[in-house]
Subunit: 344 residues, 2 copies
Amino acid sequence: MHDVRAVHWDDVRNVLVLLDQTKLPAHEDYRACADVDAVVDSVRRLVVRGAPALGAVGAYGVAVAMNQASREGWDDARLQADILRIREARPTAVNLAWGVDRVRPLTSGGVAAVLSEAHAIVREDQAANRELSRIGADWILARVERRPVRVLTHCNTGDLATTGWGTAFGVIRELHERGEVEMVYADETRPLLQGARLTAWECKRQGIPCLVQADGAAASTILRGLVDVAIVGADRIARNGDTANKIGSVGVALACDAAGIPFVVAAPSSTVDMSTPDGSYIEIELRDGSEVTTYAGVSVAPIGSEGLNPAFDVTPARYISAVVSERAAVEPDGVTSVGALVGE
Amino acid sequence: MHDVRAVHWDDVRNVLVLLDQTKLPAHEDYRACADVDAVVDSVRRLVVRGAPALGAVGAYGVAVAMNQASREGWDDARLQADILRIREARPTAVNLAWGVDRVRPLTSGGVAAVLSEAHAIVREDQAANRELSRIGADWILARVERRPVRVLTHCNTGDLATTGWGTAFGVIRELHERGEVEMVYADETRPLLQGARLTAWECKRQGIPCLVQADGAAASTILRGLVDVAIVGADRIARNGDTANKIGSVGVALACDAAGIPFVVAAPSSTVDMSTPDGSYIEIELRDGSEVTTYAGVSVAPIGSEGLNPAFDVTPARYISAVVSERAAVEPDGVTSVGALVGE
């Protein structure tokens, strides 16, 4: 099995290379990004998605902008403006801005300095994912009695959503390596089907048993007692533990609460935004309604129908049993800070 | 605007005619059913669906079987066996068996007697829908303060799901006629998209403002305060008020409970099954997983992926604010009988 890398830097061509996730699972195509337009377009169209992966894209994107600035003779104002375009290509995941901000002070040191820091972000992300997966698996095995465990997940949080290994899906992989996964229930995750297209694909690659279900089936699968724990990733975790994640996550959390099973959020500390007091401050990206009124490229609603398409929702901390980062598992109460996730 | 009839009897051709709902909204095609195979296939493939519509199909289906028996010289055992095939073509909606059972005692009186009773079922269903819509609208306007009302619905419960007017969608139409509907949030209702395809189509026909959203968006739309009441139909209502309805309904109910807004079930009394004590006794139809892993012939999950595809879920009575039939609005407590819905 070859390695899958959602995001990497090609030293020979000196470009950012992204696995085009809009084409999976039918095609495994890669897109080389040599200019800012290509980076911004890839982020907006979800060629690359997943909060941790976007962190790396933000950092490498600065290098792409610097290379373009050299080629095209930009002044610093133009360079800074184009770096800002990358930083703001999508609003909800904090990691994109975090990745840009982390390398931006190094631009005066040249592209090599920026690339070196971007590579460090990738190494740290991979290490964080491995560590949070161990912490998450430990937490789950301490709380869930049944063996092996039946896990429900929403959206995609594996190799494809990160720079490697995964967050929520990383916890599932860790449980699988310990021989403790009976079944993964993968919500298909409309409108863009990251669950059906990407999580099912990653499960197949890892040999993890998987059933794909409509998002509307999640609550009943949970209430019927088929699931022991639900685990999702995060795009932004507020200081009180409120968590923005893919649309549909809060419905899973409500069902877990009703069924009395744990709902776990897994994310590297780069996803924690201590400057956001609670979920009400998180900007939710509203994407084009046509993503809902079409399905796999086919129009499903009557011509002229309007779609409502928020890309994320916010799960209040009171419905979250634990938030796991590479530093800690925190059981948020919605009032006190989850700072332990970032080592505070 | 021409009349839409999901189910009707063509006296000239002496056949049951069904609007093929698998082809909406792109095409408005009708299928004539002259034999039992055509009826059973139409029910299984959801050419016709919706609990009240299935009640009429059950009754007319008996007439179709009797005509076929005459043409092909069946004995009574064969006729009864084929009537049973219609009765059991789908398990969850009680109305299909109810429609068959209501006309079956009349078979000795000939096709005319059966057809006369089937026509009576249609007239009664339409009258029941009009009346339950008035009762439902009154209940909602008494409980919801905001004007006009913002309504969320799941699946399709209008003209297409009934013999005319609609149940949950009938209540919305009644509210709309009273000038009290601001917006309908229509869950797309995966896997077969009855919300995006059919409810959006009916909203357009009636001039009711509508936004189609992914099923996963329902909980967050409700929690964000964009919805005043959710209203759904039913496929079977147990004696204690537990209600089987399209997969995804219970998730809507949980979100309404969390947000403190009413969750209303609207259905004619033919949907109430007093012989079923509670939801645990309701058989849930498990449809083919390929409905989830493919769309319009296009595979959306990796080749070989398995789908889990329960067609319905059960909402416990404790999450249901009111069940409305043509006889009463009952606020179920999950323990006492909802017999008032059927005049008991």
